[in-house]
């Protein structure tokens, strides 16, 4: 394998934050406190859609112990345009309204006011004293309903972007996208088999175990400190700066340890509110969401409606692929319909493709990113349809995919031509896995599906400092959500040629290191890793200069090898190699402290592909599906710390199993969320799953010195379709809607039963 010539990369040392996290010492969002802090709480709309006629906070303000109350009036109005905030493109008009409802409450759980009080009990009491005069409006939950003429309109100003000619009609369709390659009609005309189906997916939550939490302290001189559990403290700073008109340099955000995010902690909910409450009360304010608030008002990802039509010739060549994808964006525009459209057929080399996407608002919480945003939804529909094609052609599902796999030179339907990619290698690895080579056990059935994600790069900064004893601190600015400290330390140790335990990685706050984009899109090991490698290289240049001074030679007469400065050749002179510790000891005499820095906008993240295999059994009476065996194969570039790479794959699969079999947002007729807790929103537990086998296919990414590719997003893309395909083989029932929960599956099986009896 590719990592053989490395000393540290590809090994599995203990993570630097391990001891803290197994002893309860690690401090997460809710574990930070300040002297004299107040408790902040949010009043949330009980209505799915209502005009806010007035809010009377006087009684709450008069309650003893209440120190501040805020409503939308306390937040400045924002322009209706897309602007950068912490490098995210966002419409601040919408963001400020999501943080605190203005004219209207747009979903059950929408924040309408907040209080800060001396105790939690007083804060709750104060919320009950706030009088909101609502005019309840007709609401719409479902995407298909929201797209219909005559549907309740959420935003009077919204017009569909992407229509030619433009329309001037108020609508819930925020955007229409279209991608075309070749000629779809001509392609379909060539097909021997054409399969067309319509699918639905439910909104699902990221389900991080740690609720959103923040502590904010605004001082009288205008400075602000924030502790927040977030995937991007620089984004928290950026959004708070914009939303509250505070200069970024006045806001210092510390990312606490983070208890899961999966994309859901890349936006702000509590932070601007806590700052405002702190400004008004003159005291630090701590806010922690309850689990029900997490479900009602944060996340989730879109549910959607998709139509897919695929045509293939008898020999298994896919000649035409057509899909329409309509995704819920929640109460404000901005679903991941773009990536859903682009990922849909990205695994395959198909001549004729047409993809249409719609971004649709409805009375649900605004969606947030969730692992490979959009891709799993598209893959559910596309990979199910491809399985139907394989069945119709009586082809092995992996062989069909191999025959049509995207490879270097494949032109995608969204434009770019692929460079080096690993789709074929991943399919072959899945085909050769012990799992696929084992015959399916009696009573079990097997399903296969593939998935794609782009991976992202973007901005990172890093620094490396040598201590006086020659050990090294590596400083970066991305919260460690799944072991990234270990990966960064491994790359630093490898680059510097010292032992892993001589390198200590630290995550700095927004005032202590340059800008870093969010921990998300599987970018940290790639982009921040690149920044760390470059910072260490910068430090090595510095170290070589110090050796040159000591030896009185030119800097380029010195080389760096295995942690030592050495003369480049015997011509330079006879010098004993100088270790990091020796150079550090003399730093004062040779020019002061020895540091390295790097900042970059990482390009070429390199796409990833995954192929999953599942064996499962179905209890025909109850509709309960038992996952018996699962294998995830993925092109991972270079596995820096293989345990955490495997862990990413296993975790993604578990979330995918939940998405496939149980998880969904359930609303009642009034548009109120019915299952805002872990009991009724059922995520997989240990007894629901088998061990999850992984096959790491290492196709190094040419854009990274150690070949790193993002790995965290891809594994959630294939599971739903893999499971649906296996269920279809087990039962002859093709499920078209997610989740394939016991009640739905048993209903579908019952519907089939008379047919079977008649046959």
């Amino acid at each position: 394998m590719s990592s053989q010539h490395y000393k540290w990369i590809g090994t599995r040392p203990n993570r630097p934050d391990g001891a803290d996290k197994v002893t309860g010492r690690a401090r997460f969002g809710a574990d930070f406190n300040m002297p004299g802090q107040l408790v902040g709480k949010v009043l949330r709309s009980p209505h799915a859609h209502a005009r806010i006629k007035s809010i009377d906070t006087s009684k709450a303000e008069a309650l003893h112990g209440v120190k501040a109350v805020v409503t939308a009036k306390d937040f400045p109005e924002q322009p209706n345009q897309i602007v950068p905030a912490g490098e995210m493109q966002a419409n601040l008009r919408d963001v400020t309204r999501n943080v605190m409802a203005r004219e209207k409450a747009l979903y059950d759980g929408h924040a309408v006011a907040a209080v800060a009080a001396t105790t939690s009990e007083i804060a709750s009491e104060a919320l009950a004293l706030i009088k909101v005069d609502y005019e309840v409006l007709p609401h719409v939950i479902d995407v298909d309903d929201a797209m219909k003429d005559g549907a309740p309109i959420l935003h009077d100003h919204l017009r569909t972007d992407g229509l030619t000619p433009p329309s001037d009609k108020p609508t819930n369709i925020a955007k229409r996208l279209e991608f075309v390659k070749g000629d779809i009609a001509a392609g379909l005309a060539k097909a021997d088999v054409v399969i067309e189906r319509e699918y639905k997916t439910a909104a699902v939550h990221q389900g991080y175990i740690e609720p959103h939490a923040t502590l904010a302290s605004a001082t009288e001189d205008g400075q602000v400190q924030v502790w927040s559990t977030t995937q991007g403290h620089f984004q928290v700073r950026g959004f708070c700066s914009r939303l509250l008109n505070i200069e970024t340099s006045q806001i210092r955000v510390t990312a606490t340890e983070i208890g899961g995010g999966f994309g859901g902690k890349t936006v702000v909910y509590l932070e601007p509110v806590a700052i405002r409450l702190s400004q008004k009360s003159g005291k630090p304010v701590k806010m922690v969401m309850e689990r029900s608030e997490v479900f009602r008002a944060s996340g989730p990802t879109s549910g959607g409606t998709l139509r897919v039509k695929i045509g293939a010739t008898r020999d298994g060549r896919i000649v035409a692929a057509d899909t329409t994808i309509a995704l819920q964006s929640g109460a404000f525009p901005g679903s991941p319909v773009g990536p859903a459209c682009m990922c849909s057929f990205a695994c395959y080399d198909i001549d004729n493709i047409k993809v249409i996407g719609f971004d649709v608002v409805s009375n649900r919480p605004k969606v947030a990113a969730y692992r490979a945003p959009g891709a799993p939804i598209a893959a559910w529909a596309v990979e199910s349809t491809i399985d139907l094609v394989a069945e119709a052609l009586r082809m092995d599902p992996i062989d069909l995919r191999l025959k049509n796999a995207a490879r270097k030179g494949t032109k995608t339907h969204y434009g770019p031509t692929f460079n080096t990619i690993g789709m074929v290698e991943t399919l072959e690895a899945a085909k050769n896995s012990p799992h696929y080579k084992t015959p399916v056990k009696p009573g079990h059935a097997r399903g296969v599906a593939a998935g794609f994600w782009f991976n992202v790069g973007a901005d990172s900064s890093a620094a490396a400092h040598v201590g006086e004893d020659g050990t090294v601190t590596v400083i970066s600015g991305n919260p460690d959500i799944g072991g990234s400290r270990a990966s960064l330390a491994l790359m630093a140790a490898e680059t510097l040629g010292v032992d892993y335990d001589k390198v200590r990685p630290v995550i700095a706050d927004t005032s202590s290191i340059g800008f870093n984009f969010v921990t998300g899109g599987s970018r940290v090991t790639f982009a921040t890793g690149l920044a760390v490698v470059n910072a260490v290289r910068d430090m090595i240049e510095n170290l070589k200069g110090r050796a040159a001074k000591i030896w009185e030679v030119e800097p380029d007469a010195v080389i760096w090898e295995n942690g030592y400065a050495k003369p480049a050749s015997s011509n330079v002179g006879k010098f004993e190699p100088l270790s990091l510790a020796q150079l550090a000891a003399q730093a004062g005499k040779t020019g002061g402290p020895i540091n390295g820095h790097a900042q970059l906008n990482a390009q070429g993240a390199g796409p990833g592909f995954g192929v999953h295999i599942v064996d499962l059994s179905v209890d025909r009476d109850t509709g309960i599906v038992t996952v018996e065996r699962y294998t995830a194969a993925q092109d991972v570039g270079t596995a820096i710390h293989p345990s955490y790479v495997e862990g990413q794959l296993q975790g993604g699969v578990a979330q995918g199993v939940g998405w496939a079999l149980n998880e969904e947002y359930i609303y009642d007729a009034k548009g109120r969320l019915q299952n805002a807790g872990f009991l009724d929103y059922r995520m997989p537990v240990a007894s629901d799953l088998p061990m999850i086998e992984t096959v790491l296919v290492e196709v190094p990414n040419p854009s990274h010195p150690y070949g790193v590719r993002g790995v965290g997003e891809v594994p959630i893309v294939p599971p739903m379709a893999a499971i649906g395909n296996a269920i279809a083989r087990a039962t002859e029932v093709r499920m078209l809607d997610l989740p394939m929960s016991p009640p739905r599956l048993s209903a579908a099986l019952d519907a089939m039963a008379p047919k079977r009896a008649a046959e």
């Binding site: 990113a369 434009g415 770019p416 992202v456 997003e713």
Partner: protein, 82 residues
């Protein structure tokens, strides 16, 4: 001359439905400027919410990125990860 590829809906909105365009320029900045002269208004949108793929490699923010004369440059919807 680089080959610039726009998404179909973008092309319909701004460029009379034509998705592929020959444009000269040494960097993305130059390409966007040249496109904006041809199709007024397209520049802001390209800078605002589009990512760029240059010869298959996706760039989130490619303002200064150099372009080879025979490069393929695709403007695609911006991405965010989880």
């Amino acid at each position: 001359m680089a080959k610039v590829v726009l998404t179909y809906s973008f092309a319909r909105q701004f460029a009379g439905g034509k998705t592929e365009h020959e444009v000269s320029g040494q960097s993305i900045r130059h390409l966007v400027r040249a496109l904006d002269e041809r199709f007024p208004g397209i520049g802001d949108r390209l800078n605002e919410d589009m990512a760029v793929a240059i010869d298959g490699v996706i760039h989130q923010n490619a303002f200064l990125e150099k372009i080879a004369p025979d490069s393929e440059v695709c403007f695609i919807p911006a991405l965010q990860g989880g």
